[in-house]
Amino acid sequence: MNPPSDLAIHATGLTKHFGGTHAVDNLELAIPKGCVYGFLGPNGAGKTTTVRMLATLLRPDAGTASVLGLDTVRQAESVRERIALTGQFAALDQDLTGAENLTVAARLLGYRPRAARIRAAELLSGFGLDDAAPRQVKTYSGGMRRRLDIAASLVATPEVLFLDEPTTGLDPASRNQVWATIRALANAGTTVLLTTQYLAEADELASRVAVIDHGHLIAEGSPGELRAAGGTGRLRLRLADAERRPDAAELLHRLLGGSGSGSGSGSVEAAGSDPADVTVAVADAARATEAIAELSRGGIALTGFSLDQPSLEEVFLALTTTAAPAAAAS
């Protein structure tokens, strides 16, 4: 597809074993420049190991990887001039203040002492950490640490940024700020490799997504293609009158359960704690809106509805149980 010169990251046969654990197994990646690329997988899938190999921290057991056309082992030094990594766990000095952490990072990138302090102050303000700047990092909340850690990776704007689960465990406000930062970087031309356990996050930010499990790439494509491969989402309805639940369930099953709608589509989940709620699997968003319209024509009033995309677990189940997923890697 893309000629290698257009690729920010290119891995072929990338492999890393820890004892008997195949942490990363024969991984192929081709990530174009300038995009936000989602790297999706559950705990222990091999995301961190892959990122550490790409960021020159870990030597592959087999295979090769290049970043911006530079080999991550033979040309590690040149790769390091153009990347930055925010690891899964904050790489900060707990005893130093936020300002000192960033100043150390800036000076290690070649900033003169005064320029380093100015750059640190600029970043602290950009990340809403002015007030915390003179405090030791050990007094910071999880969200503040994560922001500072990302700021430390952006002292010099990298051409490729690795973010390993940057929003896991964050409060919504911090998460939104991280998302806004990722968008701003992508707009400025930085390629972002973002690992996450959440399909919703990849959906929000990434233009392409790879799904990894047990060190294997199991799918690659746009978030939409993945959802299609992952099959069904869920339509949740809230009925004005709980008495009408059997009618609604019957109608939905008939409307959404037709052939070619994907596995399980149209099956209505058993009543939960709230008898006014109906949840039904749905493969196609367009048909969900039809179903909603049909319900009101049938005189079944709704007080609310939502269409949830399939969860990561559902996508996984679909991808790992289907022999040949629609968006499988070439």
């Binding site: 020159t56 000095d93 952006l154 704007t157 701003a184």
Partner: protein
Amino acid sequence: MTLTPTADTPNATQPAPRPLATILAAQRPPRPTAWAACRVFAWRALLKIRHVPEQLSDVIAVPIIFTLLFTYLFGGALAGSTHRYLQTLLPGTLVMAVLLATMYTGINLNTDHAAGVYDRFRTLPIWRPAPIIGALLGDTARYLLASALVVGLGLALGFRPHGGAVGVGIGVALVVAFALALSWVFCWLGLVLRTPNAVTNLAFLVLFPLTMASNTFVDPHTLPGWLRAVVDANPVSHLVAATRDAMAGTASGTQVGAVLLTALATIAVFAPLTMHAYNRKS
């Protein structure tokens, strides 16, 4: 794709981003020289001391306790008078106090690695040994502080070196040079051992025989033959003798050269081992 008419999507509630333009750097400065990077790491070590002054307790308390304890405990028994004993003991106390402080190099390195701090440094385009050399520069400040305490306390108690300020200076320089060489051993151990505790345990196993089975406290002539052979072969004995003689103003060039050669040989072996472990650490 969430069609939720009731709740806002995260997109809509997102605060107008703070001056996001400021997070983008104007341009990247040229990468620092090896020496500049080392200096930044030394500065970082000094910042840590400023924020956690307790970590100096080992280099402050141990030398003071050793000097007082050994002078008054052993002085009368071993040399007839504390004053006379102090003249030979003090250089030995100095060696022991500073060498015991070298293990913290390994413990700190191990702790920093466990905390993931070095992951950032290892993805920066800096001279690879800079974090370790910089930490050692910071340690030099600690060793000099410990030396100043021992010598100052000794002078107050009646230590009168015939070599004068120059002799004492040479003596301290020898001890610090030897300590820096030994620090590389602990850097290596700090990288290959799993926990700070393991480093501490092994450090005592190495340092106690090394400092005790020497001429620090007793004249080797009083020892049984086999032990005397061990003591004579111990590089710390040569360091103590050279430091003593330097402070007394009688050290020979050969003595000083031998100590420096031992230090260089230790570095020649353990610096590459350390860098290998540092590069391989995952």
